[in-house]
């Protein structure tokens, strides 16, 4: 039995979304002033309005991108490039598109450590905040552990401060409410392919009075913030996927939580020794990260894949081998745990049998190792 349990890496495209995309030829350059262009423009603006509503934003605050990596670059570089060696606060557990972007900048960056529960300490953030801090970039849900970061407390800590708050909400949307006003976001990034939409499209929310320096200059698209002819079909796909995810959020996330609970129950009933990484009570519905103290993640992922189970761990090097997880290293320091942990991420579409198959495969692997 083939079981895909890596939905935090990417999701399959929703059937309704795919159907809608097939029916649209996406013709017309939205910047053209003739009718073909205007039709395309109308579709994009309709999508923008719908999306704005879902996020409790106004449509002029939504900017389409090629995905979250671009969105994170746009937000971080767009702010940082306005200053000479700016002070920026982020966490050690961000996605590579945030961490590597910050590393490439001539900026003074404070990286906050995560606690063993998987969340950062807001007091540490308060202590590192300086008068000249210009940006705080924190993810809403960690992609490896699923642990939610204390965004509301961060927002409160920043309420009297001029620093902008950028939220990478890629792993949150569809699993919890993402309301830019409630979150206090000045900038917020989303990606379509993590919510059953197409790959290669996402968005950046930018609060009205936030100024960004554009990364891609061109023909004035996206209010001069992101040059390049808009990908009409993909933008419609993003909008449809977001609408679906919003409509079905409760049903989907409850099912994801059931799956996670079933998985943990089956694991507990088995002989397999394991520990959950981070506080399961603070984690989003679809992600669980498990430490198996008897085998390297590299071995486990190979053995699981050979058994038809697709999961993931840390980040892969280009030679296909695994690096220890930077997220777990932040939480637990240098330890075997960082090399022995696997992320399983679930979908509302999974069946009980699929969850059972994962645990059966784990039991087989463990049994073989103990033989």
């Amino acid at each position: 039995m083939e079981v895909y349990a890596d939905y935090a890496a990417t999701t399959p495209m929703d059937g309704a979304v795919r159907q809608a995309l097939l029916e649209d030829d996406g013709f017309g350059n939205p910047s053209s002033i003739h009718r073909a262009g205007k039709e395309a423009r109308a579709k994009i603006e309709k999508a923008r309005r719908g999306i704005a509503q879902l996020l409790n934003a106004s449509s002029s605050e939504i900017f389409f991108t090629s995905g979250a990596t671009e969105g994170n670059n746009m937000a971080i570089r767009g702010v940082a490039n306005q200053y000479e060696r700016p002070h920026i606060i982020t966490t050690e557990i961000e996605h590579a598109s945030v961490l590597n972007t910050l590393r490439s900048l001539d900026a003074d960056v404070t990286y906050l450590q995560a606690n063993a529960d998987g969340a950062i300490d807001v007091d540490a953030l308060k202590n590192s905040l300086r008068d000249e801090t210009v940006l705080v970039s924190v993810m809403l849900v960690n992609n490896e552990t699923g642990v939610m970061q204390p965004i509301y407390e961060i927002q409160e800590a920043l309420s009297e401060h001029k620093a902008l708050l950028h939220i990478d909400a890629v792993q949150a949307y569809g699993h919890m409410t993402v309301d830019v006003k409630e979150l206090g976001a000045d900038l917020l990034t989303l990606s379509a392919h993590k919510m059953y939409g197409p790959k290669g499209v996402g968005l950046l929310y930018k609060r009205k009075d936030v100024k960004l320096i554009p990364l891609i200059t061109g023909g004035g698209q996206e209010k001069d913030l992101r040059g390049g002819t808009e990908n009409t079909i993909w933008i419609e796909g993003l909008s449809l996927a977001m609408q679906q995810a919003s409509d079905e959020m409760t049903r989907r996330s409850i099912r994801e939580m059931q799956i996670k609970e079933q998985f943990l129950n089956l694991l507990t009933q088995s002989d397999i020794p394991f520990e959950v990484n981070g506080d399961v009570n603070k984690s989003a519905s679809h992600i669980i990260n498990i430490h198996f103290p008897f085998a390297e993640a590299e071995f486990m992922l190979t053995a699981l894949d050979m058994a038809g189970i697709h999961a993931s761990a840390g980040s892969a090097c280009q030679a296909g081998t695994l690096n220890p997880s930077h997220v777990l290293t932040s939480m637990y320091g240098e330890s075997d745990r960082n090399r022995q942990s696997i992320r399983f991420s679930f979908s509302y579409m999974m069946t009980d049998e699929e969850v059972e198959a994962i645990v059966t495969a784990l039991e087989d692997i463990y049994g073989r190792l103990m033989r």
């Binding site: 894949d305 030679a319 695994l322």
Partner: protein
Amino acid sequence: MNNSDITVVVGMSGGVDSSVTAKLLKDQGYNTIGIFMKNWDDTDEDGVCTATEDYEDVRLVAEEIGIPYYSVNFEKEYYDRVFEYFLEEYRKGRTPNPDVMCNKEIKFKAFLDHAMKLGADYVATGHYAQVVHDEEGTKMLRGIDNNKDQTYFLNQLSQEQLSKVMFPLGHLDKKEVRRLAREYDLATKDKKDSTGICFIGERDFKTFLSSYLPANPGRMINMDTGEDKGRHDGLMYYTIGQRQGLGIGGDGGPYFVAGKNLETNELYVVSGYDNEALSSSSLEASDINFINPVPETFECTAKFRYRQEDVPVTVKQMDDRLLVEFHEPARAVTPGQAVVFYDGDVCLGGATIDRIFKESKELEYLA
């Protein structure tokens, strides 16, 4: 048992030999799985793992022949068990053979264990050697291609290790393997064979070694005349019988390395290929491995270095040492290298050369 019930993990390096190995096994119906070993870290200062072209080739070939492929990282094991040994041998002035150690400790230990834990029945590699499994156990035979035969490097493998090994190229010659790669149109069909030691690659050996071990220049002495022949760059850079890189020639030359004195840091050289100082009649060896049982004393043939013609010897086992007497004098036998024994085409095993004698006098190859 049907071949499809037998799982074979192929060690795929991204070279033509292991590519053809995987293809042959797949065509024979085995449940074939390719695994790439990353044994050496060439990550740069920025922490970026360099794009490994070899892994790219594994990916291409695995996709072409339709088998699953994975990676495994043995950098730590390789460093601890092969590279540390390699450095230690050079520190002692010896000439180690990291390929022998890599086969013993990594490819047919760490990797074999990994494959077995993944549920493999056998591990296969593209080595030019043959294994025969029968009632009496496992034998290792030379590869059919005499020019490519790699049993020399596999001499330290145990019966236990070899019992789980397949060498599908052992009955082919290299030309045939290339021809098959072209016939199957594998991505690696025209890829150049790798040469030299894997972790050094195309880099200059001296530069590489000097970044790990301090070079200690000293004097070169003509062993026969006592004459000072100038400066050497550090004893570790030279091996017994070596001619190149001495920087001396002209009158009386060519010169050859005939010994090292670690105490005085002197390099002994002699004039003439056939110089008596390079000639020996027996050796003493340790790290003994016999693949199949052998008598306490026996005659067989042996190699003292890779690709050398076999020479007839008498082997005497003395506790944890071997005394190997040559029937004809041998030239430039080198401490640290392997001595490997053969009975016809059967590789009996081998040992590591420690001391070299002429009649009963120990040579000053390493003083």
